[in-house]
Amino acid sequence: MFGFHYRLERKAVGLVLAIIVVASIGGLVEIAPLFTIHQTVEDAPDMRVYTPLELTGRNIYIREGCYACHSQMIRTLRDEVERYGHYSLAVESKYDHPMLWGSKRTGPDLARIGDKYSDEWHVAHLNNPRAVVPESIMPAYAWLSRTAVRTADLGAHLAALRAVGVPYTDEMIANAPADAYGQAAPDSPQAEGVTKRYGQATNVRAFDGAAETLTEMDALVAYLQILGRLTDAASKPVAAAGR
C-alpha cells in the first residue's frame, strides 16, 4: 500500500484522478438513491403549491435570513412533537426549492406555525417583536409594512419553479400578478381567481389589515400562515400518508 502510494504521489494526474474517485463515492451512495427510491417522499395527493403571494413571502423569509434562527423541521422526538406538533414529513417540503429546514433554533420552530396566531399578532410581532413578547431578541422588521411588493415578474418566478418541477399551470403563471394582489384584497375582482386556482381553503384576506396596498408584510404573513398547512398528510393516520 505504501509502496503503491510512493509511486502514485509522483504522478500529478494520477493523484488528481484518485482524489476525484475517492471523494465521489460517499455522495453517490447517499444522494442518488434519494431520487429513485419511491418511499423517500410520501404521497400526498392534496398537497398544493404556494400561491404567488405566499411564494413572495417565502422569498422575503429567505432574503431576511429567517432560516438562520428558525427551523422548519420538527424531529421525531417526543418533546418536539408536543411542543411544535406532528413531526415533519418529507412531502411537506416537496415544493420547497430550496428547503428551509434550518439548522439552529435561536427562535422556535416554524414548520407548523400557520393559523396558530392571528394576522394581527404576526403584524405586531414583525413590526416590533418586543411589543408582544417582551423577552424576544428577534430583530424588528418594520420596513416590511413600508415596502410594496413587486408583482409584475411573478409569472417568471412561477415559470422558473415549474422548470425545476413544481406543477404550476399555464393559467397560474399567466395570472400570477393578479392572484398576488387578489389574495390580500378579498373584495377585489381578482380575489375570486385565487380560490379558483389554488383551492377553497386558500387564505384570502388583508393580511396586514390594509387591503388597498400590497406590502411585503402581506406577503410574509400570508406565507407564515400557510406553514404546515399545504397538506393534511401529517394529521391523517400514518397508514394513509402513503407508507
Binding site: 434519494l34 423517500t40 417522499v41 431576511e64 418529507a90 411537506e92 430550496p98 418594520a142 417568471a156
Partner: protein, 551 residues
C-alpha cells in the same frame, strides 16, 4: 504588478477585463429593475478599475528574463494583506451580530443591517474572505517551494486573486441588498457561483501546470491536501448550486433540488465545505509551515498517507449527520453517523502527526508565539474533530442539534483551528516574503496569541453552556408529564452566555487588529523588494522537498 506582466499577458489582461466589463454592463442593463443591476454595476466598476491599472502600466518596460530564476511571490503578498482586511471586517461583523443577540436594537431600522442579512456577511467574510484568501496565498507559496518550480505565468495568479475577491465582494454586498440562495455557506446567487467556477478552474490549472514543471520527483503532502481542497470544493460547489434563474435579468434563482433531496445535497455540501475548505486546505498549510517553523521533519510519512485518504474518503459520507431524526430516510442518517465516528481515526492521525513533529522542538513552542499558534491549532483540530464525531452520534445529536452547542463546535474549529493555523502561517511567512529577519514586534505576536486563545476559550465555553442548557430545557418534563419550560424560558436563560460569547469574540477581534498592525509595520520596515531565488536553497527547509519515507 502589471509591470511584471509580459506584453502578451498585458494584452490578455486587457481582453479579460473588457469581457468582464461587458458582462458587468450587460447585467446592469438587464437587471435595471432588479437587485441584479447593482451587482452588475459592481462588476463593471471592478473591471474598470482593473482596466485603469492595466492601461496605465501598459507601456512599462517588460520584465527581464531574470524573473525565471525567482519564485513569484507577489500574489501571495497581496493575498495575505487582503486576507487580513477580510478577517478584521468579518470578525467585526461577527461580533456585531453577537451583540445583536444580547440587544436586538443595536442596529439601524433598515434591511441591510438586520441580523439575518449580516450574519451571512460574517460567515462569508471569515470563511471565504479570510480563509479563502489565506489558502490561495499560502498554497501558491508552498506549491512553488515544494515543487522547486516557479508559477507558470504572471497573469493567472492575479486573475484568481482578483476574481475570487470579486466573488466575495458580490456575495457580501448581495446579502446586504437582499440577495441570497439561503443555502448555508452557499448563499451567493447564480452569477457569482458561475464566476467562482471560472476562477476555480484557473486556480486548479495553476496548480497542475506548476506541478507538471516541478523539479522534485514527489508531490509533497501539503500539495495533496491543497489539491483535494481545490478539486472537491469544485465538485461540491457545482452540484449544490445547480439552479434555474428567474431570468437573466434577475438575481434570484430557484434550486434544482427541493425538500429532502435538497437537504441532503445541501449538507453534503455544507459538511464538506468544512472538510475540504476548512480542513484539507488548512492541513495543507499546517504540513508546510509547522515543520518549517519548528525546523523538524514530519513525524510520519505513513500517518500522512492514512490520514489524507481517510479524510478524503470518509468525510464525503458524513453530511447526513446534520439531519438526524428529520424526514431524511433513516439509512442515510445511520451511514452519516457511522462514517462521522470513523472519521475520528484519520483526523487524529493528522493531529498526532502534527504534535509529534514538534518532539525535539518544544522549547521553541514555549519561546515562539508563531509556532505556538500552530501547536494550539493542532490541539484544537484534535479537540473539535473529537467533538464533531461525538455530536454526530444520533442520541447526542438529539440534544445538541438546533442549539448553540453547534455554534460552539463550529467556532472551536474556526477560531481554534482555522484562524490559529492561519495566523501562525502568516506570521511565519511575512518575514520570509518581505525579506526581514522577523516580525516588527514579537511581543505583539505574543499578545495576539493570548487574545486569540482567551477569546476562543471564552467563546467555546459560553456556547457549550448555553447549548447544553438550551437542549436540556427543551426536553425537560415536569412531574405531571408536560413540558416544563416554554421556548421563551430557554431564551431568557441564554442571556449571560450570549454576553460572554460576544466578549470572547471581541477579544479575538482585537487580536486580529493587533496582528494586522504588526504585519503592516513589518511590511513598512521591510527592505525594498526582490524575489526569492530558485537557485538559493537557503530559503529551502531541509525537510521540505517531497516527504521521504520514514525509514
Amino acid at each position: 504588478m502589471i509591470g511584471q506582466f509580459t506584453i502578451g499577458e498585458r494584452r490578455l489582461a486587457l481582453i479579460t477585463l473588457l469581457v468582464l466589463a461587458a458582462f458587468g454592463l450587460a447585467m446592469t442593463i438587464a437587471g435595471r429593475d432588479d437587485l441584479l443591476g447593482g451587482q452588475g454595476a459592481l462588476i463593471f466598476a471592478a473591471a474598470l478599475a482593473g482596466l485603469f491599472a492595466v492601461i496605465s502600466a501598459y507601456y512599462a518596460p517588460e520584465p527581464s528574463e531574470e524573473r525565471f530564476a525567482q519564485y513569484y511571490d507577489d500574489p501571495t503578498k497581496v493575498g495575505i494583506i487582503v486576507a487580513m482586511i477580510w478577517v478584521v471586517f468579518g470578525m467585526f461583523v461577527g461580533d456585531w451580530v453577537a451583540w445583536l443577540l444580547v440587544n436586538p436594537d443595536l442596529t439601524f431600522d433598515a434591511g441591510w443591517s438586520s441580523f439575518g442579512r449580516i450574519r451571512p456577511v460574517h460567515t462569508t467574510s471569515v470563511i471565504f474572505g479570510f480563509g479563502g484568501n489565506a489558502l490561495i496565498a499560502t498554497s501558491l507559496y508552498v506549491l512553488q517551494r515544494t515543487s522547486r518550480a516557479r508559477l507558470p505565468d504572471q497573469f493567472t495568479p492575479w486573475f484568481v486573486l482578483f476574481g475570487y475577491n470579486l466573488f466575495c465582494l458580490l456575495a457580501v454586498t448581495g446579502y446586504m441588498a437582499g440577495i441570497t440562495q439561503s443555502k448555508e455557506y452557499a448563499e451567493p446567487e447564480w452569477y457569482a457561483d458561475i464566476l467562482l467556477v471560472i476562477v476555480w478552474v484557473v486556480y486548479f490549472a495553476i496548480y497542475l501546470r506548476t506541478l507538471m514543471r516541478r523539479k522534485e520527483p514527489h508531490i509533497y503532502v501539503a500539495n495533496w491536501y491543497y489539491m483535494a481542497f481545490i478539486l472537491v470544493v469544485a465538485i461540491l460547489h457545482i452540484v449544490n448550486n445547480i439552479a434555474v434563474p428567474v431570468s437573466l435579468g434577475h438575481a434570484k434563482s430557484y434550486s434544482a433540488f427541493s425538500g429532502v433531496q435538497d437537504a441532503m445535497t445541501q449538507w453534503w455540501y455544507g459538511h464538506n465545505a468544512v472538510a475540504f475548505f476548512l480542513t484539507s486546505g488548512f492541513l495543507g498549510m499546517m504540513y508546510y509551515y509547522l515543520p518549517k517553523r519548528a525546523n523538524r521533519p514530519i513525524f510520519s510519512y505513513r500517518l500522512s498517507i492514512i490520514s489524507f485518504w481517510g479524510i478524503t474518503f470518509f468525510y464525503m459520507w458524513a453530511g447526513s449527520h446534520h439531519l438526524h431524526y428529520t424526514a431524511l430516510p433513516h439509512w442515510v442518517q445511520t451511514l452519516g453517523m457511522t462514517f462521522s465516528v470513523m472519521l475520528l481515526v484519520p483526523s487524529w492521525a493528522s493531529a498526532t502527526n502534527a504534535l509529534l513533529t514538534l518532539n525535539g522542538a518544544w522549547d521553541k513552542v514555549r519561546d515562539d508565539a508563531t509556532l505556538r499558534f500552530m501547536m494550539v491549532a493542532a490541539v484544537f483540530y484534535g479537540l473539535s474533530t473529537f467533538e464533531g464525531s461525538f455530536m454526530a452520534i444520533r442520541s447526542v445529536n438529539s440534544l445538541s442539534h438546533y442549539t448553540d452547542w453547534t455554534v460552539g463546535h463550529v467556532h472551536a474549529g474556526a477560531l481554534g483551528w482555522v484562524a490559529m493555523i492561519t495566523f501562525g502561517a502568516i506570521y511565519a511567512s511575512v518575514p520570509w516574503l518581505w525579506k526581514c529577519e522577523r516580525m516588527y514586534s514579537a511581543r505583539l505576536v505574543e499578545a495576539h496569541f493570548w487574545l486569540a486563545l482567551g477569546g476562543t476559550v471564552i467563546y467555546v465555553f459560553a456556547m457549550w453552556n448555553s447549548g447544553i442548557i438550551q437542549g436540556l430545557m427543551w426536553r425537560t418534563y415536569n412531574e405531571s408529564g408536560t413540558l416544563a419550560y416554554s421556548f421563551v424560558d430557554s431564551l431568557v436563560a441564554m442571556r449571560p452566555y450570549y454576553i460572554a460569547r460576544a466578549i470572547g469574540g471581541l477579544l479575538f477581534l482585537i487580536g486580529a487588529v493587533v496582528g494586522s498592525y504588526n504585519i503592516w509595520m513589518t511590511i513598512r520596515m521591510a527592505p525594498r523588494p526582490s524575489g526569492a531565488s530558485l537557485a538559493r536553497p537557503d530559503s529551502q527547509p531541509a525537510d521540505v522537498p517531497a516527504l521521504q519515507p520514514a525509514e
